[in-house]
Subunit: 724 residues, 2 copies
């Protein structure tokens, strides 16, 4: 039972997050750094870290810790952190694994506020390593220290006031507004390397390694408050606490876009991720559901991760899907149009005034239908004028400029014109460029008020990035949803049933039909009248229920009754019920099952078949699933998932995402369905999940969705509960 | 009626193709070239073409044609091609559009064998331009000349014996085994530029422009016979003659892979392609069907086009989907595993002997489950040993080696070891590399017997390329299919009906039910007994047919009878038929329709609902479609397409591609379906299409697929025919 009001709850969460953000401060913005395992021997991690800290001119004191040296590289060295005798915000630990625990204890003695354990050989290697990690975490928490790693690559902050390169690989990207987290050292290196090569700016980078203490959730809280970070980029291989992520991420994503790549989708990938540095294999549909609900942009490739990040770091989020395209070649414009439309963007016709102005200016061979083809002779002046014209067309929300440097002219002049003209496009519209040359095009960094425009080598990459930004924009502007709460008396009734069942059974059990009916009805979910009877009483019970009736076998051995012919429809009289019951007894007997009891239920005629269910994933917790159309749709997996709790907005989105969604509108002369009633069932199932943490599995299938105004009725279902 | 035997037919096609191939010879392998419009004025196309021909040292004589100059750039110039007085294989034409026709006539007088019209301003611009193009084509054909373009960028041949750069843009890629065709000048330039920058070898390049005469089909025939070309790469915006492509491409693809990108998928893309240089907007599902049947690898992005081409140009085609992966970082291996499995490749566990040998050699932190993670400390020797071990594991068909250059060592040694070790992998297994560094990794070109290995910057690109090669490999080894032919008497019966209907109607018409039944039954397709009757006779007719019966309205205004409640099932007596008929008459009347006639049909109980249909696309001709599962599957578009004729192998593939294919195996206790009977219906529909070119549309829906051995029965259908 909830004892907090929603407001108290929210406020407590905000405080917790603020505390998490503050606890990361000493790690990413330290005033002083100790380096345990500092070395002058080239090729060691201790030497690489010291060299990078010095090369990038960390603004605070650096204390090399090495019991065998009095001085390293011109800096006074100390035998232990506790021997420094000055306040130390952060300690980097790069000693062999067996020495890490004592080093961390020494840090606590010295009052260090955060440790970054670069050393490897812990949880990624053995069970023993996982136990040491837990001890380290418990010790750090008890000592008021945060801990990054172990098995990580370090941390980095480009802020000139900090200028900390505490990573043991060479890249040092320019200062910028992207905050980057990587769970893989190798991919962290690859991404840093690309970011530096592409001259993309970074605010801070953290390699979280085995994520024993500091995790993505802490960093989300930190970056949400960090004024230097506008875009958050995550490379993840696992989730430690996905439900906390589900709470934090949407709050952050409302203000700053989060672009994430989650690997380990496949069997082999998961196997590798598990043996590597991830804690648990995660269900990929759950990841999709989580990201979608939380407004996190999921990148499916490394290239896409960077393409999207570059766009969001430099340009506004588009207000809508309508794209204007300007090119100096037909083919590239077509490729871009194809790629845009395949991803939900549109290339509308331009306003007559825009077309007329383009017509006046461009040669007669030019193509004036969006995508605009200014043909190969296009000059800097053509680009400048077309960008201003198309960019100011009220019918477009964003602009993509393709430039294929012609072989006869110097491209610098055109590049410069593109940059400057972009400044005349309304500031709320993003401008992207596609520069198709293996030799690169010198886009000026400071021409025009927009600075450097994001540029892509292929049209498809620009389309993928813009489409992701547009989906994010839609998420950000969607209405706030509301969840449904059950009344106190409903809650009491449901808890009564569940408590009794759970108390009586050690292992998870399926609810008896009567209990199921009680729970569903208390939750406000309509359930077709149902009665269980001994086979010899079936006919007399049927008289009480009325006709038409459905007869179902009651045999715990059989999970899918219809699979074995155990469901008989359309029984219209006492005699038909008796006859069918006898037949089922005989058939079950020949299958080796003694049929003693049957279920009788009033038959619900018509309606669109839906399914609503819940499975509890070991990592993600309860996942709610819905689909339309009966057995066939299960076969082709046209279902959508959400993590609970599910709001009305979520529920509506779940339905609209189904390929079969049009069934609810009345397809090909069939009656429409009561969409609102089905959404209500979903919300009530979500509320039930919140009330019953013991719920292991729920399957309402079929739910008959009757014509609008007539409701939705659960015809069959099962619910399994067990001790939490 | 066919008068040729299949063998005669095949042999005639082979001769035609050989003739097409020979006719391209003078264009791509000319012994002499005339350049009409040669110029010394920098910035003109005439000057650029001449400069490129000279720069790349064309091996034959070059004849500049310019009435105003006696000499250009040290070469004797002539006023006209006919004034040269020496044999000329190919003439490049780069004069303004109004001068092109007289230049071409002059070429014919001079006995030129092929003209390449670079000049633009024809069909891409206006209807008048299209008419001039037709005249040019007819003139060339009458004169025994082939014509490339107009509106093209030229042709190129890297063969040292020819060394022809007759393209007006700078790239001159190294000699190699890829033949490239581009329908877009701009994208041709972009692709050439990339190919040169990536040092990918090209045999020949042709920019086909408006494709008025020489088309992709001619080039397929040419490259099939060209010993210097092993891989064919096409960038297409439209199809001129897709049915000829459907005949030529599979024969070529059996020996040499064809990788194609077809743009203009989207509405805006098609609009641009149509206004640009393409002749017709093409149905994208038809393109997919065509490529799939023909064994053509379809690339969805420009990057994929090149990634796949590089693999096929350098490595064998894998014998199966099993991939071994070696890496020196966990994250990249996981990304690769995810990307492979998402595309149908597998990463099997390695043989115990392989794992044990890796275990002996690698550090204890290494991950030995495929993908192998040798961790960052991996040396050249580790790479060499692991490549040999994993490459020789009998459980893998191909090998991908990921190398993330570590920050502390020189990568050249490892790169060299990878190249050499690849030589110890069995030659039938492709080896790919992923080199993850923005600074590039110097892969040696000549280390080891495999030469330069294909390398990719991101794991996902390697997976996409290998998966495409593996799909192609499966296509190449699939059994040869057989089509079905109708008996002469069946053919006569069907032609009799069709000839009468077509003769009686100016416009396309739907066949009357009796005619439809006759045609389907003659074609060997079972059709449920059906009779048409006036509403007042319905009840008496029903007595003749037997029960249960289905009653359907017969109203030409109504296309989908079930949409308006015009189908009544399960009628069991004369009285029920009479009652339902009266009700339908009343209901139709209230909808403004006078119902006079109804259809009565014996009801087919049970069976899996399928649909088999044909639509005639204006460009592609007849497309056969099939699907399973009734109305719902139409809604979610779970259907597959093939161009006719469809073989038994094609038909089986069509069914196995459906997401709902498992329905035929008996899903969740439902009866299985007679798959062979459904395939037979598809084959008979294909035979019907071959026999009836007047067929505009055919829709058999539903076809009831009964349990195995019991056949498949068409329950409702319609067929529209019209003059060809």
């Amino acid at each position: 039972m909830k004892v907090e009001t929603e407001e108290v709850h929210q406020s407590r969460h905000r405080s917790e997050r603020h505390a998490a953000a503050r606890s990361i401060q000493p790690i990413l913005n330290p005033r002083s750094v100790a380096l345990v395992g500092a070395s002058r021997q080239p090729g060691t991690i201790g030497a690489a870290l010291l060299a990078n800290l010095k090369r990038c001119a960390f603004t605070g004191p650096i204390y090399p810790i090495n019991p065998k040296a009095a001085e390293i590289d011109g800096l006074t060295a100390y035998p232990a952190v506790s021997a420094v005798g000055a306040p130390i915000d952060m300690a980097l630990i790069a000693v062999p694994a067996p020495m890490v625990e004592s080093a961390v204890r020494d840090c606590a003695r010295a009052g260090v506020r955060g440790v970054v354990i670069v050393s490897s050989g812990f949880g990624e290697l053995s069970q023993e390593g996982r136990e040491i990690e837990k001890r380290l975490r418990d010790f750090c928490r008890a000592s008021g220290m945060r801990m990054v790693g172990p098995n990580c690559m370090g941390v980095l902050n480009t802020d000139p006031a900090i200028s900390m390169n505490a990573v043991f690989v060479p890249p040092w990207p320019p200062a910028g507004n992207i905050g980057l987290l990587s769970q893989s050292g190798a991919l962290g290196y690859v991404i840093l390397d690309r970011i530096e090569a592409l001259k993309i700016g970074l605010s801070t980078f953290i390699s979280v390694g085995n994520k024993v203490d500091v995790s993505g959730n802490d960093l989300l809280a930190y970056w949400a408050e960090d004024p230097r970070t506008d875009v958050i980029v995550l490379y993840l291989e696992s989730f430690g606490n996905p439900r906390e992520f589900a709470r934090v991420a949407p709050e952050v994503a409302c203000r700053k876009p989060i672009v994430a790549m989650k690997s380990g989708r496949s069997a082999a990938g998961t196997r590798a991720a598990t043996s590597h540095s991830a804690s648990l294999a995660n269900l990929d549909v759950a990841v999709d559901a989580l990201f979608e609900q939380a407004g996190v942009i999921r990148a499916s490739t490394l290239e896409e991760l960077m393409d999207v990040a570059v766009l969001l770091a430099n340009q506004p989020v588009p207000a809508g899907p309508r794209v204007g395209v300007i090119s100096n070649g037909g083919g590239p414009g077509i490729l871009l149009a194809d790629a845009c439309e395949a991803r939900g963007l549109t290339l509308p016709e331009l306003a007559p005034g825009t077309v007329e102005a383009l017509h006046q200016m461009l040669p007669k061979m030019a193509g004036l239908a969006n995508p605009i083809d200014m043909i190969a002779s296009a000059t800097a002046a053509h680009y400048a004028a077309a960008i201003e014209l198309v960019g100011n067309d009220p019918g477009i929300d964003s602009l993509i400029v393709i430039y294929l440097p012609p072989h006869l002219h110097d491209p610098a002049e055109v590049a410069s014109a593109i940059s400057e003209a972009a400044g005349k496009v309304p500031l709320e519209k993003p401008v992207l460029t596609v520069l198709m040359s293996s030799r690169g095009v010198p886009m000026p960094e400071n021409a025009g008020i927009r600075g450097r425009l994001p540029s892509y080598s292929f049209p498809e990459n620009a389309a993928v990035a813009l489409a992701a930004a547009e989906r994010y924009s839609r998420w950000r502007t969607r209405p706030a949803g509301r969840c449904l709460s059950l009344t106190p008396s409903a809650q009491a009734a449901i808890r009564g049933v569940i408590d009794r069942v759970v108390a009586n059974h050690g292992k998870p059990v399926w609810l008896e039909p009567d209990d199921l009916a009680t729970v569903l009805r208390a939750a406000g979910i309509e359930f077709a009248a149902i009665e269980e009877a001994h086979v010899r009483d079936a006919a007399s019970v049927s008289e009480r229920l009325g006709y038409p009736l459905v007869l179902k076998i009651q045999a715990p051995e059989v999970l899918h009754k219809s699979d074995v012919g155990g469901v008989v429809l359309g029984l219209r009289s006492k005699d038909e019920v008796a006859e069918s019951t006898d037949r089922l007894v005989r058939e079950m007997k020949s299958a080796g099952i003694t049929l003693e009891r049957v279920l009788l239920q009033r038959e619900v005629r018509g309606g669109i078949e839906a399914l609503v269910g819940v499975t509890a994933d070991p990592t993600f917790g309860p996942l709610l699933v819905c689909g339309l159309g009966g057995v066939l749709v299960e076969l082709i997996k046209d279902v959508s998932f959400r993590l609970t709790p599910v709001s009305d907005v979520d529920a509506a989105e779940m339905l609209s995402k189904l390929r079969s969604a049009r069934l609810l509108d009345g397809y090909r002369g069939n009656p429409a369905g009561d969409r609102a009633a089905l959404i209500d069932v979903i919300l009530r199932v979500s509320a039930l999940v919140e009330l019953v943490p013991e719920l292991h599995e729920l399957d309402l299938n079929p739910v008959k969705v009757l014509p609008p105004g007539e409701g939705a009725i659960v015809v069959d279902g099962r619910l399994r509960v067990g001790r939490v």
